[in-house]
C-alpha cells in the first residue's frame, strides 16, 4: 500500500469503520452506565434558588471559591487546551467541509493563521499539563497507563494535523493519512477511556446538582 492508497483507505472505509465503532461503543457504554438507574429519593425536597442539576451542569464549569489559587495549572491549562481543542476541531475550514460532506451541516470557520496559532498554543499547553501530571504528586499518584494513553490519543491528531498543514516532517499525503488514522484511533478508544467524560460529565454534574439541590444546596 503506498501513501495515496493509505490516505484513500483512511478517508473511506477506515473512517466509516471508526465512526461505526465509535457509535456502537458509545451506545454500549451509555446503556451500560445509565440503565443502572437509581432509587427515588423519598425525603421531601427543600427548594432553594440555584440548587438543581441544571444549575450545576453550568456552574461547575467555573472554579469553585478558592480553587483557582490552589491549582492554577489545572484550571488555566485545562481551559486553554479544552477551548483550543474545540476551536481547532470545529472551526478549522477543512473540518467544517468534512462535516458538510457527511451530514450536510456547515458553519463559518476561522482564518487558517488563527487556527495555526491556536494549535501551537494548545500543543504547548498539552505538554504543560502532561508535565504537571508527572510533576504534581497527586496527579502522578492517580495516573495509570490509561491517563497517558488518553493524553497521547488526544495529542497525536493535533500534532499530525498541524504537521500536515505545515508540510513538515513527512510528505503531506502521508502526514494527512496519519492524521486521519490517529483521529480514527481516538474515536474507537474514546468510549472505553476517560475521554468519555466529554459526554458523561453532563450527567455527572446533573446528578450531583440534583442530589444536593433536593437538600437546597447549590453546588
Amino acid at each position: 500500500m503506498n501513501e495515496m492508497e493509505l490516505l484513500t483507505w483512511a478517508r473511506g472505509p477506515g473512517l466509516n469503520i471508526a465512526i461505526g465503532l465509535f457509535i456502537l461503543g458509545m451506545l454500549w457504554r451509555l446503556v451500560e452506565i445509565y440503565t443502572l438507574g437509581r432509587k427515588k429519593d423519598l425525603a421531601p425536597a427543600r427548594n432553594a434558588p440555584g440548587a438543581s442539576g441544571w444549575h450545576t451542569v453550568v456552574r461547575r464549569s467555573m472554579p469553585p471559591h478558592g480553587m483557582l489559587k490552589r491549582s492554577p495549572i489545572s484550571y488555566i491549562g485545562g481551559y486553554i487546551f479544552h477551548i483550543g481543542l474545540f476551536i481547532v476541531v470545529f472551526l478549522f475550514a477543512p473540518h467544517i467541509k468534512l462535516v458538510d460532506s457527511l451530514l450536510g451541516l456547515s458553519w463559518p470557520g476561522l482564518p487558517s493563521q488563527v487556527i495555526d496559532a491556536v494549535t501551537v498554543v494548545t500543543l504547548a499547553t498539552m505538554l504543560l499539563v502532561l508535565f504537571d501530571r508527572i510533576n504534581n504528586p497527586v496527579k502522578r499518584y492517580l495516573s495509570t497507563v490509561g491517563d497517558y494513553a488518553a493524553w497521547m490519543l488526544t495529542f497525536l491528531p493535533l500534532l499530525t494535523g498541524f504537521l500536515a498543514v505545515k508540510h513538515l516532517l513527512l510528505p503531506y499525503t502521508t502526514m494527512l493519512a496519519l492524521h486521519i488514522l490517529s483521529v480514527e484511533l481516538l474515536l474507537v478508544a474514546l468510549p472505553f477511556t476517560k475521554l468519555i467524560h466529554v459526554f458523561t460529565l453532563f450527567a455527572s454534574r446533573w446528578y450531583n446538582g440534583d442530589i444536593s439541590g433536593k437538600r437546597g444546596v447549590p453546588v
Binding site: W28, R29, E32, I33, Y34, T35, L36, G37, R38, K39, D41, L42, A43, P44, R46, A48, T56, V57, R60, S61, P64, H65, G66, M67, R70, S71, S74, G78, N136, P137, V138, K139, R140, Y141, L142, S143, T144, D147, F192, K194, I196, H197, T200, L201, A203, S204, R205, W206, Y207, N208, G209, I211, S212, R215, G216, V217, P218, V219
Partner: protein
C-alpha cells in the same frame, strides 16, 4: 473468598447505581478533589485523595458492571478486591474521611464523591472492616438506645435538674404536641443547658412540645458506619414514637449526623415518606426570629467567628439560618474566608471522632490545622458552632494545640441572651 467478604462485595454491588457509574466513567484523574479535602491539604499525602479512597468500589463497579471489566475478570486479568485490601482501606474510608462533602463541591466533572464514600461504607461495614470505635458506638445505639449507652432513667435525671435550674417544665410523652424533640447523648451529658434553653424558647413562643421516652436519641451511628440495616432500625424507633404520639413535627438537635440521618436518609431507610415533618432546631429558631418572637435582651460583646458543621450546612441545606441567628446575638461577627457551604470540616465528622486509635487521633489533630489556620485568620478568640460532635472534636484539638479559643453553642448562646 471469605463469607464476610462475599457479603461486602454483594453489598457494594447492590449500592452501585447510575450516578456511581457515571461518576467513575467521568473521572479524569485531575486530582482537584484532593485540594478540597483537609486530610490531603494538611498532610500532603496523595493517598488521601478522595477518588483514591473509592478504589475498591470502583473495581467492583468495573468488574461487575462494565463489558471490559467483566472480560478482564473472566480472563483472570482483573485484580479482585480482597479482605486485606479492604482492611487497608479502612483508614482511608473512615479515619481520613469525615463525609464532609467538600470534595463533591469541586470536582470539575461533577462527581459526588461523598455520595460514593457513603456507599462504599456499606460494603466495609458488612465485611467487618469498619473501625472498632464506630462498631461499638453502633452496637450501643442499637442495644442500649444511644452511642454513649445512655438510658432513659439517666435522661430523666437530667430532665429533673434542667427543670429545677430553668424553672420550666419538660413535657414527656405528650400525645398531640406540635413538636417531638430529639436530643443527642453528647448534648444530654455535656450540654444539658440545651434542653433548658429549648424549654424557655418553646414556652415563650407558645408552641407545644414533648420528649419521647421511647425515642430521645437522634444520633445514628448506623449512618456513620454505613450500615443501612442498623441505620433503619435506629431511625424506625424515632418514626414509630413520633407517629404514635401523633406530632406534626420532629425537631432535630444541632447534631449534624443526626439531622442527616432523620431528615435526608430517614425516609429512604424506612422506604416511605414520614407522616411528620423534620425540622432542624436552627430552622425553627430562624422562623421564630423572622416572626419577631425571638428577641434578645442584649448581645455578646466579644467578636466571634462561626464554624459551620458540614452535615447541617453543606450536606444538610440549613444554609442561611445560622448566620442570621448569630448576627442577632453578637455585636461583631467575623466570618471565616471559606464559610457556609464551603466551610472546612472540624476533622471529626462521619464517625471519625469515635475512632480512638492513636494514629487516627494524630491524623485528626493534623487535619485540624486547617481549622486552626481559619480561626487564626479571623483574629478572634471566640468561635460559635452548632453541632455537639464538632464541638467535642474542636475542643479536643483546641486543647491539643493549646489555643486560646473559646467555644460556644449557638442555641445556648441565643438562649442566654433571650429577652425574659
Amino acid at each position: 473468598m471469605s463469607a464476610s467478604l462475599q457479603k461486602g462485595i454483594n453489598a457494594l454491588k447492590e449500592v452501585i447505581d447510575a450516578p456511581v457509574a457515571s461518576f467513575f466513567a467521568s473521572c479524569v484523574h485531575c486530582g482537584l478533589c484532593a485540594e478540597a479535602c483537609l486530610f490531603y491539604t494538611e498532610t500532603g499525602d496523595p493517598k488521601y485523595t478522595p477518588i483514591h479512597k473509592l478504589e475498591p468500589l470502583k473495581r467492583v463497579y468495573q468488574q461487575e458492571y462494565t463489558l471490559l471489566g467483566r472480560l478482564a475478570k473472566m480472563t483472570g486479568l482483573a485484580k479482585p478486591v480482597t479482605d486485606d485490601e479492604l482492611e487497608a482501606w479502612s483508614e482511608l474510608v473512615y479515619d481520613s474521611c469525615t463525609m464532609c462533602g467538600r470534595c463533591s463541591m469541586v470536582c470539575p466533572v461533577g462527581n459526588d464523591l461523598t455520595y460514593m464514600i457513603r456507599k462504599l461504607r456499606e460494603g466495609m461495614a458488612v465485611s467487618g472492616h469498619a473501625p472498632e470505635g464506630i462498631v461499638n458506638a453502633t452496637k450501643r445505639t442499637v442495644e442500649l438506645g444511644g452511642p454513649m449507652g445512655l438510658k432513659w432513667p439517666a435522661v430523666q435525671n437530667v430532665i429533673k435538674h434542667v427543670e429545677a435550674d430553668s424553672g420550666h417544665k419538660v413535657p414527656v410523652d405528650q400525645a398531640g404536641a406540635e413538636y417531638m424533640v430529639l436530643l443527642s447523648s453528647m448534648e444530654i451529658v455535656n450540654y444539658p443547658e440545651y434542653i433548658g434553653a429549648l424549654a424557655r424558647i418553646f414556652n415563650k413562643a407558645g408552641i407545644t412540645w414533648t420528649l419521647s421516652s421511647e425515642a430521645f436519641e437522634a444520633t445514628n451511628a448506623g449512618i456513620q458506619i454505613g450500615n443501612s440495616d442498623l441505620a433503619r432500625e435506629i431511625v424506625s424507633r424515632i418514626v414509630n414514637a413520633a407517629e404514635k404520639l401523633g406530632v406534626k413535627k420532629v425537631l432535630s438537635p444541632e447534631c449534624g449526623h443526626a439531622y442527616m440521618a432523620i431528615r435526608w436518609e430517614g425516609p429512604n431507610l424506612v422506604g416511605r415518606p414520614f407522616k411528620f415533618e423534620v425540622v432542624h432546631v436552627l430552622e425553627l429558631l430562624d422562623e421564630l426570629r423572622a416572626k419577631g418572637v425571638l428577641k434578645m435582651k442584649d448581645k455578646l460583646k466579644t467578636p466571634v467567628t462561626l464554624h459551620d458543621p458540614c452535615q447541617i450546612v453543606r450536606r444538610g441545606g440549613v444554609l442561611n439560618a445560622p448566620e442570621a441567628l448569630l448576627k442577632e446575638v453578637v455585636v461583631e461577627f467575623r466570618p471565616m474566608t471559606d464559610h457556609g457551604k464551603m466551610n472546612w470540616c472540624c476533622g471529626g465528622g462521619g464517625g471519625a471522632s469515635a475512632i480512638h486509635e492513636p494514629a487516627a487521633e494524630e491524623l485528626r489533630f493534623t487535619a485540624f490545622k486547617r481549622k486552626k489556620a481559619q480561626i487564626e485568620e479571623t483574629g478572634v478568640n471566640t468561635m460559635v458552632t452548632f453541632c455537639a460532635n464538632c464541638r467535642i472534636t474542636l475542643e479536643e484539638s483546641i486543647d491539643h494545640f493549646e489555643m486560646n479559643t473559646q467555644l460556644l453553642g449557638l442555641t445556648e448562646l441565643l438562649a442566654e441572651h433571650l429577652e425574659d
